[in-house]
Symmetry: C2
Subunit: 227 residues, 2 copies
Amino acid sequence: LIEVSNITKVYRVGDLEHWVLKGISLSIERGEFVVIMGPSGSGKSTFMNILGCLDTPTSGTYRLEGMNIGGLGRDELSEIRNKKIGFVFQNFNLIPRMNALENVELPLLYNGVTKRNRRERAKRALELVGLKDRESHYPNQLSGGQQPRVAIARALVNNPAIILADEPTGNLDTASSEDIMALFSRLNAGGITIIIVTHEPDVALYGRRVIRFRDGMVIADERRSPS
Amino acid sequence: LIEVSNITKVYRVGDLEHWVLKGISLSIERGEFVVIMGPSGSGKSTFMNILGCLDTPTSGTYRLEGMNIGGLGRDELSEIRNKKIGFVFQNFNLIPRMNALENVELPLLYNGVTKRNRRERAKRALELVGLKDRESHYPNQLSGGQQPRVAIARALVNNPAIILADEPTGNLDTASSEDIMALFSRLNAGGITIIIVTHEPDVALYGRRVIRFRDGMVIADERRSPS
Ligand SMILES: Nc1ncnc2c1ncn2[C@@H]1O[C@H](COP(=O)(O)OP(=O)(O)OP(=O)(O)O)[C@@H](O)[C@H]1O
Ligand SMILES: Nc1ncnc2c1ncn2[C@@H]1O[C@H](COP(=O)(O)OP(=O)(O)OP(=O)(O)O)[C@@H](O)[C@H]1O
Ligand SMILES: [Mg+2]
Ligand SMILES: [Mg+2]
C-alpha cells in the first residue's frame, strides 16, 4: 500500500542546513496498525506530512498503491488526499469560522455528497467521538480535548482507506483517549490502515507494529505478535 | 495569594445556556505546587483563564494578593498579567510572525527591559527548555513538542510570582516532559507558585496538592504528604 524509498527532507534556516529526514525506507501493507514513536524533533510529523501528500521530500520516492506520488500534479494530489487519506493533524487545523459540524462535513464537499447526506454523516462521525452535543460550537468554544476529537471525526467521515493521526490523544484525558483508540481499533478491524504518531506507551499498545524515529532516521521497526 | 469565592461561568450557544463553572471556591497559598485534573470539558481551562486574568467570571469574586480582580480596569489587569503571572496556554498562542526568541522576549517588552538584556534573558529561558538551537525558527518551523516549550520559556522569562500552565506536557515525549517538570520543581523550590492542569498521572506526582474538576465543580481537593 505504502512504499517509501530513501526519503530525505532538508530545511534551510538562515544559512544552516538541517536534515530533518536522513533517508527513510520502509513499506506498510494494507490493513496494518502502525505506531510511530520517537523524541521531539526526530522527524515524525515531517514524515507523516509526506505520507499524507501534504509535503514533498527533498529526495527519494513515495509510492501509494503503486503510484509514484512525486510525479503527480496538484489536482491529482488533492484528489488522493480527499479520497484515500484521513489526516488528524498535530495542531488539528480546524477552520475557526466553521462550527464543529461544518468542519467535519468539509471532506464530504469534495466527494459530491448531497447536503442532507453530508449533515447525516458528519453528525454520526461527531457522535462516534463523543461530541454529539457540540455540533454548533466553534473551535474557540471547544475545550482542548474536544478540538482534537473534531479533527478525528473529520478524518473518519469519508471512510478513507488510510488514517494518518499525528498525536491524536495528546490532549485527551484517559477515558477519551481509550475511547478514541478503541474506535481506531474497530476501524482497523474493518480494513482501514491506521498509522498513528504517539508519545504514549499505552497508546502504542494498540498497534501491531512500532516504528521508532531518532534524529531523522528509523532506528527500530518491530512487529508485535498478537496478544 | 489566590482566593476565589463562588466563581461561575455561563456561556450561551444558540438559545442553550451552558454552565461551565458552577460555583468554585478555594484558596491557594504562596509557594504551593498545585495540580488540576479532570475530564475533558470539565472547566479546567476556563478556570485557569479566570485565574490568569484573561477572562472574567459570570459571578463570584477573585482576589489576587488581596486585590479584587473584578474591580480592575483594563490597564491594571494588563499590568498584573505581565508582571505577576506567567501563562502557558493549552494551544501555546505563539505569534506566527515572530521567531522563537522574539516570542520569548515579548513579556519583557512590557517591563522596560533593555534590548540587550531582553535578548540575554530570552536566550537563557530557551536554553532552560532545551531549545537553544531553535532561536531563529518560526512557530511553523518547530515541531509539536518544540512549540509548547517556547510557550513555557515565554512564561518563565519575567520571573513571575505565579506560573499557570495548561497542559504544558500534553505534546511532549517522556524525556522532555520530565525535564520540564523538573524545571517547574526547581522554580517552585525558588518560591514561585505553580498551578498546572494535566491529564497525566505522572505529571500530577510533582504537585503537592491535587484539585479535581468534574462538570464545572471541584469534587476533590487533596494535599499530598511530602514523599
Ligand atoms: N467560548 C465558549 N463558548 C461556549 N462554550 C464554551 C466556550 N469555551 C468553552 N466552552 C465549553 O466549556 C466547557 C469547558 O471547557 P474547558 O476548556 O474549560 O474544558 P477543559 O476542562 O479545559 O477541557 P480539556 O481537558 O478538554 O482541555 C466545554 O464543554 C466547552 O465546550
Ligand atoms: N518548515 C520548517 N523549517 C525548518 N525546520 C523545520 C520545519 N519544520 C520542522 N522543522 C524542524 O524539523 C525537526 C523535526 O520536526 P517534526 O515536526 O517532524 O518533529 P516531530 O518528530 O514530529 O516532533 P514532535 O514529537 O515534537 O512533534 C524539528 O527540529 C523542527 O524544528
Ligand atoms: Mg510532531
Ligand atoms: Mg482545557
